[in-house]
């Protein structure tokens, strides 16, 4: 029975992903910060799919927690999905360096260092799939969310580098760019329905990407074209736009 490690397991995307893999018979390792939420999600997964679930308290921005997680896993997972992300409030990110630091560390430093360590372990074994949830916000810095976006840009580059490093091996790296998703992170925002995915759709996209060894996945295909256009706008023009 294969095993999936979900990091940031209490997020809506993570829970949907855990259900999708459990339905296919995966054992689950759930890592997150909120013990009570982890226990509730684990109980649901065990009852729903009768799979083995272990929970691991871990704040990925803390080096000690990362080390404890890696040391405490009952087995090295076959697949890891990292859904850790923190949007923050852009204005607060601009004015309070401590808040911005938290956003940068939660979206880049913590996840990248954890996935890097797992990649080392996968390299020793020779197999493994690493799935990182990055963001279309990392494709080009914009005034509305560049603190979050720059950290996600780092994450995207890190995943791209890992994929290149393991390109000729049995280790596979997937970058997921969900676009807008109807989750707690975006609660209260007015999002265009056509560009907004449900957590189940993201979970299914991740499942397919792992099954079919895809590299970079846009959950709603329209985002690929939108971001291609946004990336193509000349900087002189781009800096005057508000998008």
């Amino acid at each position: 029975m294969p095993t999936l490690l979900v990091v940031g397991a209490t997020s809506d995307i993570a829970e949907a992903t855990a259900r999708r893999f459990a339905a296919a018979g995966y054992a689950l390792q759930l890592a997150g910060r909120d013990d009570a939420a982890l226990a509730a999600i684990a109980a649901d997964l065990e009852l729903r799919h009768r799979v083995v679930v272990t929970v691991h308290r871990c704040d990925v921005v803390e080096a000690e927690d990362r080390a404890a997680l890696l040391g405490g896993l009952p087995v090295l997972p076959d697949v890891v999905v990292c859904t850790v992300g923190l949007l923050g409030d852009q204005r607060e990110n601009e004015t309070d360096p401590a808040v911005a630091e938290r956003v940068m560390r939660a979206n880049y430093e913590g996840p990248a260092l954890l996935l890097g360590s797992l990649a080392e372990a996968f390299a020793v074994r020779g197999t493994g799939v690493i799935v990182g949830i990055s963001s279309v916000a990392g494709e080009r810095g914009r005034a509305s969310n560049y603190v979050y976006g720059s950290a996600k840009a780092g994450m995207t580059a890190f995943l791209s580098g890992l994929r290149n490093r393991f390109g000729k091996t049995g280790i596979h790296v997937v970058t997921v760019l969900p676009g807008f998703v109807d989750t707690r992170m975006t609660e209260g925002m007015a999002l265009p329905p056509a560009l907004t995915a449900q957590p189940d759709e993201v979970a299914q996209a991740i499942w397919r990407a792992v099954e079919r060894r895809k590299n970079v996945v846009y959950v709603r295909p329209l985002w690929r074209w939108i971001m291609a256009i946004i990336r193509a706008i000349p900087e002189g023009l781009f800096k005057k736009l508000s998008i």
């Binding site: 809506d12 509730a40 999600i41 109980a43 649901d44 009852l47 729903r48």
Partner: protein
């Protein structure tokens, strides 16, 4: 947290009227769908209120468990099933949903979560089941599932040719686990009330043919159809219904007797057609469901069926069912007969359903709030004086202001 101007929780949106539309705010409960615990020995399931019966069946039928009571669609949530106190084809034997609820956690407008059961907050417990979401928001519940041996129903089909015969057949099958009749609402004269009575029992493993007995829980799911768009007018007119009804009755007369049928087909024939409501066109349809007490049911049903047949506005989905004893302070069922009908929306049907409501009142019956979209406050207080008691109780407990749906406003609840 709650909007003081009027909030109500919404499950999977399967009530036919405005019961789950908050006056100013509606709480979407579907994301709260986690399983919390299950006891293999007793069948007691604890889950969050947004879990649907469809999910419960998908998860637990392969393990030998099925909802103790299920309405005609499995796409309802636990919370919705409790709030509407739904009933099923086994009401005469097993009662409504409430009889199988051990407890639930209710979030009041005061922000306090209360575990309600027959022992704790008993009054709140009983008003909530059938209380249409107007006593608080159900967060999680413990309900009993029933053990079954297969995903098959042993169905006995009994065609009848007149109302008295249909009712006699119901009375004679009180020991059947499930019973329901499709009734031809356009038949008149001597054929008034002709029906197809369908009795059902959960098939035991030894009753299955050899090739299915090995995998008794494998579900045979027929084709799922969809109505991808709304036609500009209703496809369900009088002549269509008349032709359909004649064919359906004749076809089932030939099928009289016993047959093994898949569990989904027996309980949820309409769930196989996604968005079936669209066949009624852009104006949609209204549901009418009443229950008449046993003593006045023959006269009441005769009057109603004669009126419907005369109108020529037949109902495709006409269901007659014998109900068992009344339970709870504000639940729909009472001992007698319940008749459920669909009509395309239009001026003619508005007059027709108003007459049917008056007939229900004259025969001492009441209407099902989960189906109702049309009753007025005056009709409600004449038909079901229990509503006045419910409204008073809500007022006394600080629930009447913050918990309001469009239905509760319309009916003065």
């Amino acid at each position: 947290m709650l909007d003081p101007a009027g909030t109500v929780a919404r499950g999977n949106g399967r009530a036919y009227g405005d019961a789950a539309i908050g006056l100013s705010t509606t709480i979407d409960m579907r994301r709260l769908d986690r399983l919390i615990a299950f006891d293999d020995a007793t069948g007691l399931l604890v889950a969050e209120a947004g879990l649907t019966l469809a999910e419960i069946i998908d998860i637990f039928l392969p393990r030998g468990w099925f909802p103790a009571v299920t309405p005609g669609t499995k796409y309802v949530t636990l919370g919705g099933a409790i709030a509407a106190d739904v009933h099923g084809k086994n009401h005469h034997g097993e009662g409504s949903f409430r009889r199988h609820v051990a407890w639930f956690d209710l979030l009041g407008p005061d922000g306090v979560e209360r575990r309600c059961s027959p022992e704790e907050y008993a009054e709140l417990f009983h008003w909530t089941m059938g209380g249409m979401g107007l006593t608080g928001t159900i967060l999680r519940a413990a309900v009993r599932l029933r053990p079954v041996e297969s995903a098959w129903i042993r169905q006995r089909t009994i065609p009848t040719f007149a109302l008295a015969e249909t009712m006699d057949a119901f009375e004679a099958s009180a020991d059947a686990t499930y019973s329901v009749a499709w009734i031809d609402t356009l038949a008149s004269g001597r054929s008034l009330g002709r029906s197809i009575l369908m009795l059902g029992e959960h098939a035991r493993v030894e009753e299955l043919p050899a090739k299915t007995a090995g995998t008794p829980f494998a579900r045979r799911r027929g084709l799922t159809l969809d109505v991808p768009l709304t036609p500009p007018f209703s496809l369900v007119g009088g002549p269509v219904v008349r032709a359909f009804n004649a064919l359906y009755h004749a076809r089932n007369c030939r099928r009289a007797g016993e047959a093994l049928v898949p569990i989904d087909g027996y309980f949820y024939p309409l769930d196989a057609i996604l968005r079936w409501n669209r066949i009624y066109g852009p104006r949609g349809f209204v549901q009418f469901q009443c229950v008449l007490p046993l003593a006045s049911a023959p006269a009441g049903l005769t009057a109603m069926l004669s009126r419907i047949a005369a109108s020529g506005t037949g109902s495709f989905l006409a269901v007659l069912k014998r109900m068992g004893t009344e339970e709870g302070p504000f639940s729909f069922p009472m001992e007698g007969y319940t008749l459920a009908l669909d009509f395309p929306v239009g001026r003619r049907t508005e007059a027709l359903t108003a007459e049917l409501r008056a007939m229900t009142r004259d025969h001492g019956g009441r209407l099902y709030l989960a189906k109702d979209a049309q009753m007025t406050e005056a009709e409600m207080s004449a038909l079901d004086p229990r509503g006045l008691g419910f409204a008073r109780w809500r007022g006394e407990h600080g629930l009447a202001g913050p918990l309001r749906s469009h239905q509760s406003e319309r009916l003065g609840l």
